[in-house]
Symmetry: C2
DNA sequence: AACGTAGTACTACAGATGGAGTGGTGTCAA
DNA sequence: TTGACACCACTCCATCTGTAGTACTACGTT
C-alpha cells in the first residue's frame, strides 16, 4: 500500500468525478487511473479493494462540499436577519450546484451505501454531523425557528438541488429562486 | 422485436428490481433475464438496446409508485381537514417506503438521466405531471395553502424518503413521523 | 563523493468474468 | 401451413483485478 498523500488525494478526487459521470458500478480502479491520468494499476496500489475506495471517497466528499472554514466564520458574523439568511441559502444551493459532480457523486454514494455497510456508517456519521452543525449555527444566530424548522429547510433544499441537477427542466431558475425564498420565509416564521 | 405484453411487463418489473439492487450500470439484459427467470437472451428480444430498456422502465415506474385510481378517488372524498391531510402524507411516505425498490430504482433512473436525454425527457414529463396533479388535488380540497406550499411539502417529503431509504439511522421513526406532521402543519398554515 | 536502501512510479501480463448479439430449433395456435 | 414466439447455444469482445517485476529518485551513510 503506497503512502504518498498528494497522489492519494488526487486519486480520491478523480474517483469523485468518475462516480458522478459513470455511476457507482463504473467506479473501477482502472477508471480512476484514467481519470487521474496515472499509469494503470496505480489505484490498485492505493486502495485495498473497491470497498476501501468507496469508504475513502465517502470520507473525502464532505470536505469538498462544505464551505471552507473562512467562509463559515464570515457567515457566523453576518447571520442576523432573514434577508441575510436567505442569501446564505441561495449561496448554499448555488455552491452545491456549482460542484455538480460532487453532489451527484454523493447521491451515488448514498445509493451504493444500501449495499456497503461500512460506507453507510461513514456517510451516516458525516451527515448527522452536518445536520447538527446547521442546527447549532441556527440556534447561535438567534433567529426565530427551532430545530424542526432547520431540518425541514434542509430537507426541502436538498431535494430542490436533486431536482435541479437531475431534471433541470422541472423548475425554472426563477421558480428555484422563489422556492428558496419561500422555504426560508416559512422556516423562520414558524 | 417480440410483442407479448405480459412478458414485456414482467421484464420491465424485473428491471426495476435489478436497478434498485445493482444500480444503473448493473442493469444488463442478462441480469433482467435472470431476475425475471426467463431464458438468457430474452431481454435482447424485447428491447432494442439498453437505452430503450431504461426509457421503458422510466415510463413504467410511475404507474407502480402512484396509488391506484380507486385509492385516489377514496382520498378525494376524504380530504377535508388538516388531520386527514397529514394521514394522507403519512400514507404516502409509508407506501413509497414499502415499495422500497421502486423508489430506489427511480433515484437510479434520475442519476442515469443525466447521461440519457431520452430518459430525461420521459422522467421530466411524468414528474411534472405528478407535481401538477398534487397542486390540483390540493386546490380542489379547499384547504389553505397555495401551490408553493404544496411544492415545498413535496420537496421535503421526497428528501425525507431518500434519507429514510438510504441512511435509515439519520432519523428515528418517531422523528420521521414528527417531521411529516410538522411539514404538513407548516405547509397548511402559511 | 560513492554507495546502498527504501519507497514509489511505471509496465506488463495472467487469469477470469460477463455481456451483447445472433442464428437455429422446437412448439403452439390460427 | 405459416407465423410468432420461447428457448438454447455459441462466438466475439470488452474489461477488470491482482500481482510480479523493473526503473527511478531521494536520502542517509560512510
Amino acid at each position: 500500500m503506497r503512502r504518498n498523500p498528494e497522489r492519494r488525494q488526487a486519486l480520491v478526487d478523480a474517483a469523485i468525478e468518475v462516480l458522478a459521470r459513470e455511476g457507482a458500478r463504473g467506479l473501477t480502479f482502472r477508471a480512476v487511473d484514467v481519470e487521474a491520468a496515472v499509469p494503470p494499476g496505480t489505484a490498485s496500489n492505493y486502495f485495498a479493494n473497491r470497498d476501501d475506495l468507496f469508504t475513502q471517497v465517502g470520507g473525502r466528499i464532505y470536505e469538498r462540499l462544505l464551505p471552507d472554514e473562512a467562509a463559515i466564520a464570515r457567515n457566523q458574523e453576518g447571520v442576523q436577519d432573514q434577508t441575510r439568511y436567505a442569501e446564505l441559502m441561495h449561496e448554499l444551493v448555488d455552491r452545491v450546484s456549482a460542484f455538480n459532480s460532487g453532489y451527484l457523486a454523493l447521491l451515488e454514494l448514498r445509493l451504493e451505501s444500501t449495499r456497503r455497510p461500512e460506507l453507510r456508517a461513514v456517510l451516516t456519521k458525516r451527515i448527522r454531523e452536518d445536520i447538527d452543525a446547521n442546527i447549532g449555527y441556527h440556534a447561535a444566530s438567534g433567529l426565530p425557528g427551532d430545530s424542526t424548522s432547520v431540518v425541514l429547510l434542509y430537507l426541502a433544499l436538498n431535494w430542490l438541488i436533486v431536482e435541479r441537477l437531475t431534471l433541470p427542466d422541472i423548475f425554472t431558475e426563477p421558480e428555484v429562486h422563489e422556492l428558496v425564498e419561500a422555504a426560508v420565509r416559512r422556516s423562520l416564521n414558524a
